[in-house]
Amino acid sequence: MTSALSPDVVSAIDDLELAARLVVEGLRAGSHRSPFHGYSSEFQQHRPYRVGDDLKYLDWKLLARTDRLYTRQFRETTSMSVMLVVDGSASMAFPEAGVSKWCYATIVAASLAHLIVSQGDAVGLLAMADNRMTYLPAKGGRPHLRSMIATIDRIQPAGTWSPARGISRGAELLKRRGVVIVISDFQDVEADTHRELRRVASHGHDVAMLQVIAPDESHFPYRGDIEFEDMESGERRVIDASTVAGPYRAAFDNFLTRSRDNALRDHVDYALMNTGTPPGPALRDFLMRRGAKPGGHHAGTRNTP
């Protein structure tokens, strides 16, 4: 059964781990290949033994049958490292009533972490709230997952974040090539963000951006004179909402289009997540697209596990 847990139901679950498990269980219900492929030491092919090959990969049974030396080859045998870079800036606290973008982002992050760990891969966390970084190295295992979920749960969105610093630091912390998933509204310093994403992607990392938006941001349901307060800078401005509603919606759509276009151009995976839709299907769509994408996962053929 596909999880159609609505965002408010999921967010109502206090236990983030439970929420993540529920979402992931919904994901599992569908049959799909692991998008974070890499661990399974899956046999791929034989090839003639060459001097220097590790004797432990020599197919002894084949040698016995055919009297020829063959070495067994496996698909990726090393575990993947996934770094979740989560934007904890104050703007993520929007909307203040109902399911905030931050709440949605934590559920998505926790679900991803749950999924990754349950596949035996390593997952790390870099959250940046109030310009302070909270960092957990990429590791596997249940205890790590649990502490990670607890860490995410403790963070309250505040202040600003520097996407450039966060993304580059997250990529650095991976130590080797891996997956960098950035969960944010990408409202801060657009140019920096895309430059950094492009840079990290060009370094060989598999980069994905999950853009979380709230319906109120896109629909802009406000009317009349409203004093808008910037949640990050605290700047206030009285704006006649009725007047700017149309132009604002156009500008917001532009912004989303721009984000997606930049991501495509930079070979960065992109997914738009609306807090008004259940996180399960959104995540599932994202993962299925990754799975279908050629080279979207690290399936390098290696000799050694």
């Binding site: 409202q187 808008f228 990050e232 700017v244 149309g246 156009a250």
Partner: protein
């Protein structure tokens, strides 16, 4: 300038609303925390925190709308020339007394009623709206006239035209006239004497006092009135006696008398026999008769100059003497076997004034029912009328059909609203156009 509903002027306090909104409006704006103002700011062609120059115009316009609407609500009435004229001309209800006493002649040659009518017509012309009531009982009509006046606007006045005979209008009936309505009394003065309708008959008024007023009835004696007494005279004197009787009728008004009295003139043939049988008065009613006759002013006045015809019989009691002390007439009880009970021996010629006076005196004495003192109607004195009168103090609120000038203010308010709408819209239109241009550029 007057206000029909001045309490509505408190609505001017509502002026505080647009002013306060203008001052605190920015602060009163709902606060909304928003992820970022970046996109919002991009959509604004110019900052809106600075108050727009049109704001002051808008504020003034809104204040003006409120003022105009409030003034319209208060229903003002401008004092125009025509209005002030109509305010000076009161609504007037005129009650004209047409009762019997008003039929009398005035010093002019008309009856009091006619004079009252012409007076009333003059007053009608000077009134804004008027009502004329002709009634023989003005007091009863006061309440109706007052209720008509109450439905009128402006100053109101109730006028009663009458001779104000007692009972025509009572002070108690004035209570039916509400305060604020003026009451005025116009007296039509009648000459004291009743009008003589023709040369033979006398019109007299009988006034009787009752609990609820005084009523008067006209009495018109028939020409062939039977005298309540017999006139005894020689046949050759009959013309003279007839003339004397006619003259006496001017004074006497007949009623029914049961007493049997005869006036005996000297020419009567059996006078000596009657004188012989006559004696002194003995019954109480005869004493009463004697008293009335001796106190009759007419008889006394006329008999002073009377010429006595032969010596009067010295019996009974003399009732009149002339200046020289001679008895002009004497009264005695008739003897047994006579046709009459009481005999009045007149010692004058039947055709003289004294004879007429004797006849009239005897008639009124024998049949005193319509005492001439009662015939004279009593009038309410002027001082009392002045006390009853009151000026029209209160100006009645105009009735709903009395249109106020509020409609002009309403029109102004609507026009101002339209202007306000235009002013409010015009900068927005420009702003919106600018916004779409900006976003189009961005898309490009």
């Amino acid at each position: 300038m007057r206000w029909l509903s001045p309490t509505a002027l408190f609505g001017l306090l509502a002026l505080a609303v647009p002013i306060l909104v203008h001052i605190f409006g920015r602060r009163l704006a709902r606060r909304q925390r928003f992820p970022t103002l970046r996109l919002l700011k991009d959509t604004l062609p110019r900052p809106t925190t600075r108050s727009r120059p049109s704001d002051l115009v808008l504020l003034l316009l809104r204040c003006a709308v409120i003022v105009a609407a409030v003034l319209g609500l208060a229903q003002p009435i401008w004092s125009t020339a025509s209005r002030s004229r109509s305010a000076q001309q009161p609504a007037r209800a005129i009650v004209v007394d047409t009762s019997a006493s008003m039929q009398r002649l005035t010093s002019g040659d008309t009856t009091a009623v006619d004079q009252a009518r012409s007076l009333a017509r003059r007053m009608l012309d000077s009134a804004r709206s008027s009502l004329l009531i002709e009634t023989d009982d003005p007091g009863q009509q006061l309440a109706g006239a007052a209720s008509w006046l109450q439905s009128r606007a402006g100053a109101r006045e109730l006028v009663v035209v009458s001779d104000f005979q007692r009972g025509a209008v009572e002070e108690g009936q004035l209570a039916a006239v509400p305060r604020g309505i003026g009451v005025r009394f116009t007296r039509v003065a009648a000459a004291g004497a009743p009008a003589v309708m023709d040369d033979r008959s006398v019109v007299a008024l009988r006034v009787s006092a009752q609990l609820d007023g005084t009523s008067a009835t006209w009495i018109e004696p028939a020409v062939d009135t039977r005298w309540p007494f017999a006139v005894l005279a020689a046949k050759r004197d009959s013309d003279a006696v007839h003339a004397a009787s006619n003259a006496a009728r001017v004074v006497h008004v007949s009623s029914d008398s049961t007493r049997d009295v005869a006036v005996v003139f000297p020419s009567y043939e059996t006078r000596q026999g009657l004188v012989a049988g006559a004696g002194s008065l003995d019954a109480p009613w005869q004493g009463d008769l004697l008293h009335r006759l001796t106190h009759d002013s007419l008889l006394r006045a006329v008999s002073t100059s009377a010429r006595v015809l032969g010596p009067c019989p010295v019996i009974g009691a003399p009732i009149a003497r002339n200046v020289s002390g001679e008895v002009v007439a004497t009264i005695a009880r008739a003897g047994a076997g006579a046709d009459h009970e009481v005999l009045v021996f007149a010692c004058v010629e039947p055709g003289t004034l004294a004879a007429s006076a004797i006849l009239a005196s005897v008639a009124t004495a024998v049949d005193p029912a319509p005492d001439f003192g009662e015939l004279e109607p009593a009038f309410v004195p002027d001082e009392e009328l002045r006390r009853w009168e009151r000026p029209a103090t209160e100006i009645a609120p105009p009735s709903p059909d009395d249109s106020s000038d509020g409609r002009w203010f309403w029109l102004t308010a609507i026009a101002l609203l339209l202007i306000e709408e235009l002013v409010r819209r015009s900068p927005r239109v420009r702003q919106r156009r600018a916004v779409t241009e900006v976003s189009r550029e961005r898309v490009a």
